[in-house]
Symmetry: C2
Subunit: 298 residues, 2 copies
């Protein structure tokens, strides 16, 4: 599935026509003009059996937790606060009673962020999927897009990356508060959440902003859970970290705190005018990220 | 799958806590207090392969058309106007290019009602599902719930019922304009859209309103597409009609028009204080609808 091609097609075939729609397909969430002070944010993401989880490798509770978490992470990446969730579950007849455990996971995640579950649809299905629709709001002045960074902006990530398939994908806390705290100090010029892996998501932010990037390998904060064999590859390509990648104007960099709520913020590189995606090694050598590496996530 | 039991569980375990949430799980759409004049309506419904359609019996275009249509029908049943849709598709690798035809159906339905498609998520999946989240608005004075009818209110349906599996399920036009027209004339005391069949949906409206019902068999407007063998059963139980069932106060009944935009409005019975669900035959005999008949839809 060539995700990039599909998203390009969707964007060009679903151009918003209503005047209140500020941003349709293409960012972490859609943006609707709500009133003088606030935008409405709307997003959807699904977790699907045998694609996002195996039923014998994740508990139903974890599946529910993750399904809402990935959506909250999208709202966080826009600078917003999640508010209302609608849950659509497709579930095989033989495990139908598992909906209670799935909901227990969803509800525990919802409680963390004062999200109300206001809609619930349950369909029979031959495979389990949990599809969540999440609405939130953001003060207009706090909205951060992925498309508004500039060359020379500095890239920061929250937390540690890599090996998240082990357990973090089912235990992560979306970075809502961290995003809002950084915005209240220094508003990033762009932001995206890390779901497909640093390399792929940095490319999305850079391309949406009309830039390239240069990431310094040695600066990437690698998680203890990252693959021991190839720790850097794990941090770049594993995905499912649900941390934030943000671009900060060079003039503001000195004011970026080392951590927020105990979550470290790490400078890892910068955006470039030249639209290439470069990894810089400690010995000064560089290599461009090949298209094939990205395709791993498509 | 005991749908009633599940919805009861969901309602009791997902009680809204946020003050702006007027109605959570349990009606055709959730209701959020948006501003002084309007409510926001949010709904979700999925169509799933081998449950709602067979891939060799419906075109991808029809699947897309239906997937958005069933959601617009929910917004119609609240008296609202649909505005913004987010589309989540799970699709097997071998038919991935079908997303274009699915979207063509979604977009044609969207255009009919000036709906913008503002979010699109595509996941791999072993079966095809199209899950849509739809937001709309309604003037506060025009909101109609399913739970606010009273005993002796008269029941009306739009259009004809039965046999909708043949083709209507893939061709129906949701009754948005008809709902708004009737509301501007005589506001129904309650309304619901007919997705599971007249018998099941009338029971939902009656139960939500704390009533029973008495439906006169001979008055049901039966579609030409209804099963020839048992036309009444077809109209009562087939489902997928996407017409509206509304309750009208007895004092307003004389002002109900015979049709709206060429769509007939037919009186079919009334709500009762006694909480039983009765079918009245022309010879005066009656029978209660058995629980088993409803379970057909669960």
């Amino acid at each position: 599935m060539e995700e990039e091609k599909i998203i390009k097609w969707l964007k060009s075939h679903c151009l918003p026509e209503r005047k209140e729609v500020q941003i349709g397909i293409g960012d972490d969430a859609a943006v609707i003009n709500l009133n003088k002070t606030h935008y409405l944010l709307l997003t959807t993401d699904a977790v699907v059996e045998n694609v996002h989880f195996k039923i014998d490798q994740a508990s139903f509770y974890q599946i529910g937790w993750k399904a809402l978490g990935v959506n909250i992470s999208d709202i966080a990446a826009m600078g917003g606060s999640p508010l209302w969730a609608l849950v659509s579950i497709g579930i095989p007849q033989k495990i139908v009673s598992a909906y209670r455990e799935i909901y227990r996971g969803i509800r525990d995640m919802a409680k963390l962020f004062n999200v109300d579950i206001i809609g619930g649809n349950l369909s029979r299905s031959e495979i389990l999927f949990v599809d969540i629709f999440l609405a939130g709001t953001v003060k207009k002045k706090n909205l951060v897009l992925r498309s508004t960074a500039k060359p020379e902006d500095i890239l920061f990530v929250t937390g540690q990356l890599g090996g998240s398939q082990k357990k973090k994908q089912f235990e992560f806390i979306p970075r809502v508060k961290e995003a809002q705290t950084i915005i209240s100090h220094i508003k990033p010029t762009a932001m995206i959440d890390l779901s497909d892996g640093l390399a792929a998501d940095a490319k999305k932010l850079a391309e949406a902003s009309g830039c390239g990037f240069e990431i310094e390998i040695s600066k990437i904060p690698v998680s203890q859970d990252a693959s021991e064999k190839n720790r850097i590859s794990s941090a770049l390509y594993d995905g499912e970290d649900y941390e934030l990648l943000m671009a900060i104007s060079p003039k503001s960099v000195s004011r970026v705190p080392a951590s927020i709520n105990g979550v470290p913020l790490t400078e890892i590189g910068k955006l470039t005018k030249k639209k290439v995606f470069v990894l810089k090694h400690t010995n000064g050598s560089t290599n461009k990220i090949s298209k094939e590496k990205f395709r791993h996530f498509e």
